[in-house]
């Protein structure tokens, strides 16, 4: 630390070169922040999944409905604390591109199942009382500027009404938020009873069941017991933990994580080359000076440390700035894309990883010039100058 001024002066000896290197590091970490923020959305909320919640879907495919009668049969199973259901509505607001999740649910049971969603009691009561009521997550309300009391028309793409209509109108009775900043709230919920009564077909079915395992019960055992119960029936089930369900669904998009990693790899490789080149240039130019330092009594380790700190410092300056701006932008993107791609988030793990990479890249870029500086023989170096 006591050499900080010396390191600082050395860093800024060639202002243009250092600024350019810092700027390219800045760009690299800005990219890192953006890509990992978007990549996080493709993990599909695996991190926020509740380990004690299980999802029961039709074995053939998520699009096949399950009979309503399964509700009581699942509820009576050992190891099941509570169970509720939801369905996929798949409509849009005003224009087909405004798609987001809309689920017909049992209001009280749904909010009991998802305690991380917070809704004021009086809003939940109002939702329960109004047959055509709906509640939306904070993200959606912000995106479309909805307020409580608004009447929201949703165009159905699947569910025509019994009267042939395709527009379903809902009264907004409440807005819920999530405890967890990583969890998406781009969701609209309305009453299953209304859905059941008004839809033209598939009455008596639901999309999927969600259940909470009793405390102490093994989720895996509960899951296989449920699947066994419905085996060889016309509607076999596939039960998985919420995390596994989210993961397997997101995996359907293909290996987004791998693509992101490949791009970041290319970026970092380039970054290392650029900064490594800068470092070795600056050491080469200063050989005689380093020899003077050693003549003055600076040890090998001190010289190594000084050169290494220089490159780490350059990385940190550019990297932290880039990460900072990236963090701000990710907040903006998360808000903008809440409905289209929910769950854009720069996780603390990613931030820690980025800082570790800055230091690592700094050391890698500086190590060879630094070793060269350390091994410098004073006589040779001075003679060369």
């Amino acid at each position: 630390m006591k050499y900080f001024r010396l390191v600082w002066k050395n860093v800024w000896r060639k202002k243009i070169r250092t600024s350019l290197t810092i700027l390219s590091v800045f760009v690299a970490f800005l990219l890192f922040a953006l890509l990992s923020g978007i990549g996080y959305a493709f993990k599909g909320g695996v991190d926020v999944a509740d380990a004690e919640r299980l999802i029961v879907i039709h074995k053939v495919s998520l699009i096949n409905p399950l009979p309503m009668s399964y509700l009581n049969r699942i509820a009576s199973d050992d190891g099941v604390h509570s169970v509720t259901h939801a369905s996929w509505f798949g409509g849009f607001y005003q224009e087909p591109r405004n798609q987001f999740g809309q689920f017909p649910v049992e209001p009280q049971a749904y909010f009991d199942m998802y305690p991380e969603f917070n809704i004021p009691d009086e809003q939940l009561e109002a939702f329960k009382r109004n047959r055509t009521g709906a509640v939306v997550g904070q993200e959606l309300a912000t995106t479309y500027g909805w307020e409580i009391g608004d009447r929201i028309p949703i165009q159905a793409t699947i569910w025509t009404k019994a009267d042939g209509g395709r527009t379903w109108e809902f009264d907004l009775e409440g807005i819920f938020s999530s405890d967890d900043p990583r969890g998406s709230t781009a969701l609209m919920l309305f009453q299953h009873d209304y859905f059941e009564e008004a839809r033209a077909f598939a009455k008596g079915t639901v999309g999927w069941y969600v259940l909470r395992v009793a405390s102490g019960a093994d989720p895996i055992q509960v899951a296989s017991a449920i699947d066994l119960q419905f085996a060889n029936s016309p509607n076999e089930t596939k039960t998985s933990t919420e995390a596994a369900f989210a993961q397997s669904f997101m995996k359907q998009y293909g290996n987004i994580a791998l693509i992101v990693t490949l791009i970041l790899g290319a970026v970092f490789f380039t970054l290392l080359l650029v900064s490594g080149n800068t470092m070795s240039q600056s050491v080469r130019e200063r050989i005689s000076e380093l020899a003077v330092l050693k003549t003055l009594g600076f040890g090998d380790r001190a010289v190594l440390g000084i050169v290494l700190s220089e490159s780490v410092l350059i990385m940190l300056m550019g990297g932290l700035l880039g990460l900072g701006l990236g963090w701000v932008l990710v907040q903006g993107i998360a808000q903008q894309m809440a409905a289209f791609l929910p769950g854009v988030f720069l996780s603390p793990t990613a931030i820690a990883g980025a800082v570790a990479m800055m230091i690592g890249a700094g050391i890698l870029a500086g190590i060879f010039p630094a070793l060269k500086a350390m091994r410098l023989s004073i006589v040779d170096a001075l003679a060369r100058a």
């Binding site: 390219s24 495919s61 998520l62 359907q252 240039q281």
Partner: protein, 395 residues
């Protein structure tokens, strides 16, 4: 003319002694190569996806679905409604029979080979006309399914991408077992991601009664679409969305390719900015290393213009080499790479190849030229303005 000769002479000199500045030059080249590589890789994904989707659609095939359904999966048509369509004006007839296929579109879970996780694979029930309303579809291995039997033919891409779909094997969806009796190809289009069976059998297996989800008809000509649409709109028994197959698939492809481009272009711009910094760095050091040389040239009578341009040319050439390198790597690694993704619009898998097309590579080269020009500009100005006497004295 004299200036041109000077520029050429100095540029040639710069190129010949590039080897003395190999480190920073290589860095600049690789920086640009990385930009072009990422650009071509990301956008070739969008290109490949679009190509697969759009090559499926033809202009003279109409697809009819229930009004308001954004995809076949959401649609529903009764048997009576399909008959109305069969007898509507504007549709092509072969003798007395309309060239058409009323189809059912469901999704089944099949494991992806690459990740061993379940994927939504489209499973389509078709009528014999399916081969006439689509272009270039043919069974290439095994045989056609027999009507009325639990037999499937599998698209070539689906067979490569998903597990257990080889001809001759047997697969179970829910309570029903199916024999895979053949493979079909469809010119690499989205149909190749699908499994096909007799629509009557699928209706039974999925308890869909006598209902369908879409009807494809061959049009008498590309202009018959309006006639057909007008006739169906007037009919009170049906409320349809009528469009050409090409329109339908373009619409399906749009959200995904928009998304890839939304990520791809800003990514490339950001990386390009990074590469400009790299190129600037390398050209500044090239200029500073050659300070004495440049001053000597000036003293010999070479003008500042020739120094300026030769530095610009050097930087542009380096960038161009990077661009070619990046494009070549992108082509070798990514072109033809087969992947599959969930197409949100149809909630089912589409298998497609990355397509590193010629125009993508040309765009990449443009990008590298721009990077090279920006990276060379300021160092070139500095080189041209170098005070001669001072530079000569310094060394």
């Amino acid at each position: 003319m004299r200036v041109l000769n000077q520029i050429l002479a100095v540029t040639w000199l710069n190129i010949r002694n590039l080897s003395q500045r190999i480190g920073s030059s290589v860095v600049a080249v690789i920086g640009v190569a990385a930009v072009v590589l990422v650009f071509a890789a990301v956008l070739s994904m969008a290109k490949g996806f679009e190509r697969t989707m759009i090559s499926a659609g033809s202009e003279d095939t109409a697809i009819i679905m229930r009004s308001g359904s954004t995809s076949e999966l959401n649609s529903g048509l009764s048997n009576d409604q399909t008959l109305i369509i069969a007898n509507a004006p504007g549709v092509l007839k072969n003798g007395d029979a309309t060239v058409m296929s009323a189809e059912l579109y469901v999704v089944v879970d099949v494991k992806k080979k690459s990740s061993n996780t379940d994927a939504n694979v489209p499973f389509r029930g078709v009528q014999p006309g399916a081969f006439d309303v689509r272009k270039d579809v043919a069974v290439t291995e095994g045989r056609m399914f027999e009507p009325g039997k639990n037999e499937i033919i599998v698209g070539r891409s689906a067979q490569q991408e998903f597990a257990g779909l080889d001809t001759g094997s047997r697969i179970r969806f829910g309570q029903t077992e199916w024999d895979i009796v053949g493979t079909f190809e469809a010119g690499g289009s989205v149909s190749e991601s699908e499994l096909w069976t007799d629509v009557r059998v699928l209706q039974g297996a999925y308890r869909r009664g006598n209902s369908f989800q879409s009807v494809r008809v061959k049009l008498q000509s590309e202009d018959s679409l309006n006639e057909l649409e007008a006739a169906l709109e007037e009919d009170p028994r049906i409320s349809p969305d009528v469009m050409t197959e090409k329109e339908y698939y373009s619409g399906q492809a749009e959200p995904m390719s928009q998304f890839i481009k939304l990520i791809g272009y800003p990514l490339t711009v950001l990386m390009a900015i990074g590469a400009v910094f790299g190129a600037l760095n390398s050209m500044y050091s090239s200029v500073s290393v050659r300070g004495k040389e440049i001053a000597t040239l000036r003293a010999l009578g070479f003008g500042p213009t020739s120094i300026l341009f030769s530095t610009m040319i050097e930087s542009t050439l380096l960038a161009l080499v990077g661009g070619v390198l990046g494009g070549a790597v992108a082509y070798l690694v990514f072109n033809g790479l087969q992947v599959s993704t969930l197409n949100g619009a149809s909630f089912s898998q589409v298998v497609f190849d990355f397509a590193v097309t010629g125009d993508l590579l040309v765009d990449g080269l443009y990008a590298s030229l721009i990077i090279g020009a920006f990276g060379g500009l300021f160092p070139a100005v500095r080189a041209a303005r170098l005070p001669v006497a001072q530079a000569l004295r310094e060394l």
